[in-house]
């Protein structure tokens, strides 16, 4: 499985889909996050692989 982490929430998706589809499947707007894997920024057309841990960085900041 593939794990997506956004702040204190975790989501799981099946490998083989694009990041864009993984975000949409979990109702996360691609406009509101950037995706990183092992500390590197990755684009939304990337195919997620089994065991991937994708850390999502929230775009919106208040203050």
């Amino acid at each position: 499985m593939v794990k997506l982490i956004l702040r204190d929430k975790e989501y799981e998706v099946r490998p083989g889909m694009t990041l864009m589809d993984a975000l949409k499947k979990n109702n996360i707007l691609p406009e509101e996050v950037l995706c990183t894997r092992a500390g590197e920024l990755i684009a939304e057309d990337e195919i997620v692989k089994d065991g991937d841990v994708i850390k999502l960085i929230a775009v919106i900041s208040g203050g």
Binding site: E31, L34, A43, V59, I60, G63
Partner: protein
């Protein structure tokens, strides 16, 4: 997805521009765009003495970084608002702003609200007529006052803020929902200086918040990730979320909304010319301009 410039793997895709770039070309593109907008909107020149309001967040630190890379001489101003809420929000923000300045050998002015005016922003908020629930408006008032004061006292030509396109569009959306004509007239990337009020500019106003985050991450800028505890559930964040839904369906919608507003205002859609010039008085305490006679809003709050 390939970088349009070099064909290598892209890391940022900007659907509104139909443009994907690799790390290196994105880190070149953002400063190029910023400089283009500084010149296009005649914000300031290389001979100006520039002050940047820095909060420790991604946008203002990235702006300072971009100006530094472009060769502008810009100092920073950090305003310690005294927001703690159990997470040391202000102290951590200050640490990050100071770290950024030290690492790049840049000059940072620090103004501590509690030391200079006797109360923190949450304290001012809870005892003012604006009430605790309106901490954001008290915070805005404090920041506008202090930025203006320091800019003028220290002889800077312009004060810059890190407002990005999403910030500006959220404000525009709120003002449009209530047809706040006076605010719509004042909103813009450059506010010219007038007697008592320093010139203000927002060099990032054409750049999406998502791109600014990408710039901060790819540049390795350490910024405060936590939201201000008082901004959680705020209207501006709610508007940003709504606008991002629109953007998701129609890439470029946010940019188009803002740029068409600027065009409409330029063509005189919102008011007769003579209404634009509101009469200003000098505050009897601090001397800064105020719309009413007597004390300005800031000095009234401090005197409470």
């Amino acid at each position: 997805m390939k970088c349009r410039a070099c064909g290598q793997k892209a890391v940022v895709n900007m659907r509104q521009h139909k443009l994907a770039l690799c790390k290196d070309h994105f880190l070149e593109w953002i400063p190029e765009q910023t400089e283009r907008f500084i010149e296009k909107y005649e914000m300031f020149t290389r001979s100006d003495k520039i002050l940047v309001g820095v909060s420790g967040g991604k946008d203002s630190l990235s702006l300072w970084d971009i100006l530094h890379r472009l060769g502008y001489m810009a100092d920073g101003l950090y305003i310690c608002l005294g927001i703690d809420e159990g997470i040391g929000y202000s102290s951590e923000s200050q640490r990050l702003a100071e770290k950024f300045a030290v690492e790049r050998n840049l000059k940072l002015h620090v103004v501590d609200i509690q030391k200079e005016y006797g109360s923190t922003v949450p304290e001012f908020s809870s005892k003012s007529h604006r009430g605790r629930l309106k901490s954001c408006s008290v915070c805005g008032l404090v920041k506008r006052h202090v930025m203006n004061r320091v800019t003028r006292d220290l002889g800077y030509d312009v004060i810059l803020t890190g407002h990005n396109l999403d910030d500006e569009v959220a404000v525009l959306f709120g003002n449009t929902l209530s047809w706040a004509g006076e605010y719509l007239l004042r909103q813009g990337p450059v506010l010219p200086g007038v007697p008592g009020l320093a010139r203000k500019a927002k060099p990032l106003f054409r750049i999406y918040e998502r791109e600014m985050l990408a710039y901060a991450l790819l540049s390795g800028i350490e910024y405060i990730y936590d939201e201000c505890p008082y901004s959680v559930g705020s209207t501006s964040i709610y508007y940003k979320q709504l606008l991002n839904r629109l953007e998701n369906d129609r890439p470029g919608a946010k940019q188009s909304f803002y740029l068409s507003f600027l065009e409409a205002r330029k063509s005189g859609l919102f008011a007769e010319r003579e209404l634009i010039q509101a009469e200003l008085h000098s505050c009897t305490s601090c001397g800064q301009p105020t719309s009413a006679q007597g004390l300005c809003s800031f000095c009234r709050m401090v005197a409470t």
